[in-house]
């Protein structure tokens, strides 16, 4: 666009405006035809059974104007978000402001997240919700390694979440190990299971891989249900120890943190502690993933997603590369699982259904595969948004579904679909999502 002469840009902008106006007028006309009978005329049965009707032209006009205005806004949005090369009607100054806003999203979001416990200290509900959102952000970032970077479709991610949760729960209740010892153990065990799953499925691609991972997720759940002597079966594991601040429990007792600091005990302390714990874990996941992307292993993951045959021709061991992706993703899932167990204090197989896998996968796909910020935003929308619609009762799922469909029409490659290069000489250009492959298993 920048290469075009100003006059030309102006002409194309005028053209674009005419196009949008035309589209809006057509939409308004369709609305007029449709609503003239539905809204414009109101009919009712009169007291003696006869039909009475009256007109509501005011409402009809309001409706048509809304459609007209709405369609202009929709079209403008689409042109702003749309693929490169569409005529952009939004003036450059606004575009620049939006670009700045876009770049500022991540730091602002991070600062806001840090301040959440300060702002909402008295609102237990919001704190709990924030912890839930952060858990899903971490799960999303973990799965992003497998699905987004390596392009391996994993429908059984919840299995590793379960492995992590049960590892902590069983180690803590049976051997009395502390959270901080169990956390890495849970990660290692989940990674181990990731490798175990990886070995047989690595020759599979695409749909077949998805089905096997789906089955693996179910197998883990069924084993947990049926291995009663170890896992307690459907009754789950209860009495899982709460995390301590490096040995100092967050309890009202004399040795508790509140007593030691000489402040009044409040149950909120523990919530705030859990909040910062999951925030730290999620940020660690993010940091490691960003770091890995710039290392040879991360580049090999992405290369594998782009073209597996070419990878082999370059001497890249595709088996170990896939295994490391699986293991890394599984490890983050396991860590999140350990956190889940310590937060709930009670776990049962019911928490690890396919629904969870699907939700995490939806977060990754919606966010834009491979994009860290996108996944965080998607987790916020999916989990937070779902809570937001609680007031709509039975329509909640419907509204949510519509929102997802609309989003996928607008942004088929997720909220943030473009890819940032991992290394650059002069300037880092974002790579359009049209070029980036999704991987095929």
């Amino acid at each position: 666009m920048a290469a075009l002469a100003p006059a030309q840009t102006h002409a194309s902008r005028a053209q674009g405006a005419a196009f949008i106006l035309k589209k809006a007028l057509i939409s308004a006309f369709v609305a007029l035809v449709l609503f003239s009978l539905m809204i414009g005329i109101r009919t009712e049965a009169g007291p003696s059974g006869q039909l009475i009707y009256w007109t509501r032209f005011g409402e009809l006009a309001a409706m048509v104007v809304t459609v007209f205005g709405g369609s202009i806004i929709v079209e403008l949005l689409r042109q702003w978000w749309g693929p490169v090369g569409t005529i952009r009607i939004v003036p450059p100054s606004v575009q620049k402001a939006l670009a700045v806003a876009r770049r500022a999203i991540a730091p602002l979001l991070l600062v806001f997240t840090f301040l959440v416990p300060v702002i909402f200290y008295d609102q237990r509900y919001i704190l709990d919700l924030a912890i839930l959102v952060l858990t899903y952000v971490m799960l999303g970032w973990g799965l992003n390694v497998v699905v987004g970077l390596a392009g391996l479709l994993d429908l059984g991610y919840v299995a590793f979440y379960a492995v992590g949760a049960y590892s902590y729960a069983l180690l803590a209740t049976n051997f009395g190990l502390s959270f901080w010892v169990c956390l890495p153990l849970a990660g290692i065990l989940a990674a181990f299971w990731g490798m175990l799953l990886g070995f047989p499925v690595l020759r599979l691609r695409g749909d077949y891989l998805a089905i096997v991972t789906l089955a693996f997720g179910e197998i883990i759940r069924l084993v947990i249900i049926n291995w009663q002597s170890l896992t307690g079966g459907p009754n789950g594991v209860s009495g899982i120890p709460r995390p301590t601040l490096f040995g100092i429990p967050l309890t009202p007792g004399d040795d508790g943190l509140a007593a030691r600091l000489g402040i009044e005990f409040s149950p909120t302390h523990r919530i705030v502690f859990l909040f910062y714990l999951i925030l730290a874990m999620a940020l660690l996941t993010n940091w490691v993933t960003i770091r890995l992307r710039r290392l040879p292993i991360g580049r090999a993951w992405e290369a594998l997603r782009e073209d597996e045959v070419a990878c082999r021709a370059l001497g890249i061991n595709t088996t170990t590369t896939k295994l490391t992706a699986f293991a890394t993703g599984a490890m983050f899932g396991g860590l999140a699982g350990a956190f889940f167990a310590t937060r709930q204090g009670f776990i049962s197989p019911e928490s690890f259904t396919f629904q969870e896998s699907a939700l995490v996968l939806a977060i990754v796909v919606l966010g834009g595969m491979g994009s860290q910020l996108g996944v965080a935003l998607a987790a916020l929308t999916m989990i937070g948004g779902f809570e937001l619609f609680r007031g709509l009762d039975q329509y909640r799922m419907l509204v949510f579904g519509i929102a997802m469909v609309v989003l996928m029409i607008w942004r088929p490659r997720g909220l943030i679909g473009h890819r940032d290069p991992t290394v650059f000489l002069k300037r880092s250009h974002a790579i359009s999502s049209d070029l980036v492959k999704e991987g095929h298993g």
Partner: protein, 277 residues
Amino acid sequence: MSSDRILSVDHLTMRFGGIVAVHDLSLSAERRKITALIGPNGAGKTTVFNCITGFYKPSGGTMRLTHDDGREVWLERLNDFRIAKQAKVARTFQNIRLFPGMTALENLMVAQHNALMLASGLTFLGLIGAPSWRSAERRAIDQAKFWLTRIGLLDRADDAAGNLPYGDQRRLEIARAMCTEPALLCLDEPAAGLNARESAELSALLLSIRADQGTSILLIEHDMSVVMEISDHVVVMDYGVKIAEGTPQVVRDDPKVIAAYLGADEQEALAVMESGT
């Protein structure tokens, strides 16, 4: 003479079910030379390539690669990525296989994967940002820059490979193969789809790779101007067997070769040649 061979393929046979794609083929490629493999469509050239580069496991025969230091590798015993990693055989593809969503620079970085993996201490040193890793990464970027300069794409280093023009993609794929520091470079129709000027540039690039890097090159090519200009040795295949070999001049005048390309028998080909001259 035989000590100078980098690759000797003996009695290579490749069967797909009942179809014999390559039958008892023997050929050799000399060190620091360009060997061309030509033949009509369906002659089995790409099958030979896929056997040499480990994408197919041959039904029979041996393939011996002799490195500069005298180390011998039997290619038919290696498979998959090990051919590229251990035997140092790099290849390009008939239909370009770059990583389209990665930049030109990233493509060349991926090619140096094995060396960089070691330098990053199997990721762990890299994760903590050890100085040894940082300097290794800088060297890898310099290496990539060197090749980007060689193929004239330094200005487009940060552009997605999928956005590059066709000819640039071809050259980038060759540069990517060269970044693996191969002993033998196998090119599958590198001039396909290039215009005359781009073909000439490609010839110059291949000759300079042979001269400067000392890499032996094995190429399949249909563009006879390229084959005749740069090859030191030409092997002609038809229906899975070798029908002629020798210098470009010898092969060009061989009636069997002309017959194979014209789809006629030898006598007819001789008649055509005589009437032409």
